[in-house]
Symmetry: C2
Subunit: 337 residues, 2 copies
């Protein structure tokens, strides 16, 4: 093992995660059976009501949803992996603050709070084809920062990101964790053409080859191939589990942070839903590796938490249906004999 002390706290947390609240789930199942609808007819809304109960320990309710967007910059952009310049990361953080991005509008549409965390944007991570993205202490500190990010409170956390170059970084993480070929995981990102995607695949291949001897450990995958926003997202997802806050994961990049935790412990994402499957070609494969099924499929590939935020409308509806519907007895409706 090449890892040292900085990751020990996280290893301990991941190996001893809170379990689902069985009694709360049973209460949901009992109530669901007498609500004025044919059994099973609300489909995934019924599953979501149980999931909310499992991970909050209470009757399903969503009153303070929050989108947390983590932004980071990446030294690997020196390899020409993105058609946009790195300066766009900070420019988009300004755009979030000014209310001008897509995620701002979706949060308005669904009454969702929005917090943006920029992570040392003027100190990009190292180029992963040359060196580890982060040293152990920086990576662990960024995870800890991510854990603190939810301290203001929420009862449904959406995890999103912004970072020019970070589909390359996410693809490298998937390739390290799941194998296959670099081409399997390289996609168009913000809009690379076929030649650009080939270049990305070559960069991913080179980075994973460089770090190969150290990639058995998921936390080493994170610090060597990841980035600050990915480390922070992993921390936030983990903190939400500890605090009993259900999580909706956004797209291709946010899912790579989740994949690190899943590799560390297969039950680490039981409190997480996948909000939307991205048009980024390899996202569906990553989701399947996590044993998940996305709620939405709208052909989006923007990040920023947009796919997760759109799913909040579904989750809110699931909670309200469960809590607000009348029973057959209350409504005087005849049940199936």
């Amino acid at each position: 093992m090449t890892t040292g002390l900085p990751f020990d706290d996280f290893r301990a947390l991941v190996s001893n995660l809170p379990k689902p609240a069985v009694e709360a789930v049973e209460a949901v199942q009992q109530r669901d059976a007498v609500l004025t609808k044919p059994a099973g007819s609300l489909g995934r809304l019924e599953e979501i009501a149980e999931w909310l109960a499992a991970w909050t320990g209470r009757a399903p309710a969503v009153t303070r949803p929050l989108v947390a967007v983590f932004a980071g910059n990446h030294g690997v952009t020196a390899q020409g992996v993105s058609p946009f310049p790195s300066a766009v990361t900070a420019q988009m953080v300004e755009n979030f603050a000014a209310g001008g991005a897509a995620i701002n509008q979706i949060c308005i549409a669904h009454d969702i709070g929005l917090k943006v965390f920029d992570l040392a944007l003027d100190v990009p991570t190292a180029d992963i084809t040359q060196d580890a993205a982060l040293d152990e202490r920086s990576c662990a500190a960024t995870m800890a920062f991510g854990m603190e990010s939810i301290a203001g409170g929420t009862d449904l956390l959406c995890i999103g990101e912004m970072g020019i170059g970070n589909t390359t970084v996410a693809a490298a993480i998937y390739y390290a964790l799941y194998g296959g070929t670099a081409q399997d995981w390289a996609g168009a990102g913000t809009g690379a053409d076929a030649q650009g995607i080939e270049r990305k695949a070559a960069v991913i291949e080179k980075a994973v080859a460089l770090h190969k001897p150290h990639l058995k450990d998921p936390f080493e995958v994170l610090r060597r191939l990841g980035g600050r926003e990915i480390a922070a997202m992993a921390g936030a997802i983990l903190a939400a589990r500890v605090e009993r806050i259900p999580v909706i994961i956004d797209g291709f990049v946010a899912t790579s942070a989740a994949a690190i935790l899943h590799a560390a412990s297969p039950d680490a994402l039981d409190h997480c839903l996948m909000g939307h499957v991205s048009a980024e070609q390899a996202h569906i494969r990553a989701i399947e590796k996590l044993g998940k099924k996305p709620l939405l499929n709208l052909g989006m590939r923007l990040g920023e938490g947009t796919g997760a935020a759109l799913a909040v409308g579904i989750v809110k509806s699931a909670a309200l249906c469960h809590s607000g519907m009348a029973t057959f007895e209350q409504a005087g409706v005849s049940d199936k004999p």
Copy 2:
């Protein structure tokens, strides 16, 4: 032709439908190209923004969404096609009025207005295995009632329904319009078992055989095999086109009303989105016959407009993203070179 004067007004309407507003669509495309996101990265949200402009003639906006639920009773329930008694239709209408149904909660979650229209629930249509469901005048009058139903105003209409026995009626309509076998179109509805589904298929077969000589005309399909709520939904969808109101169609039964209009004129549903593909097995086949792609797939099979209402959150978000996002120039974000 066996039809008479009552349908002539509808035939005239359907043959001369308003066309999309080309200039409004072009304005959306021009603005979309300079919004702070990679081109195409909002996927179907971008398509929806264009669709709203096409069918309202204005910049995309959703300020007064409405769910209209139409309820009817069906003589074919005498054939034992549903595990629930017909009395449940009126009981559920009371439940809608009292705010206790699933659709009430989803409307709360998404700030949607709700209107429920019960259509002579104490006068079920004739048993379609014995006679035409409705005479021409009743069918045309019910379509006209449906057209009036939206007079209170809305800028996004969701079409839903309630009616014990109406998945049998909808399946008969699809079988008449699209062929195949009765089994292809018969499904579980509110929860029929395998034997119940076989019984439904036999009933559908018998009904379509009885009316076979008259089923070349879509309006005859509607009055012979349909029901009051289906006629009213067809009227409402048509009126929305005339009034330039975009429509979201709900599930298996609501789609059968849309299918009548589509059979009368292939462009009749250009102002309609399919909100959700039902778990009712044949719904996806019906949607494909209409050349549509549903927005959501959440395993629901409840009707009431629930699938359409859930899609409102997506449509609202699409409108807000288009209208509220900053341009690259406004935000000082570098565009792709």
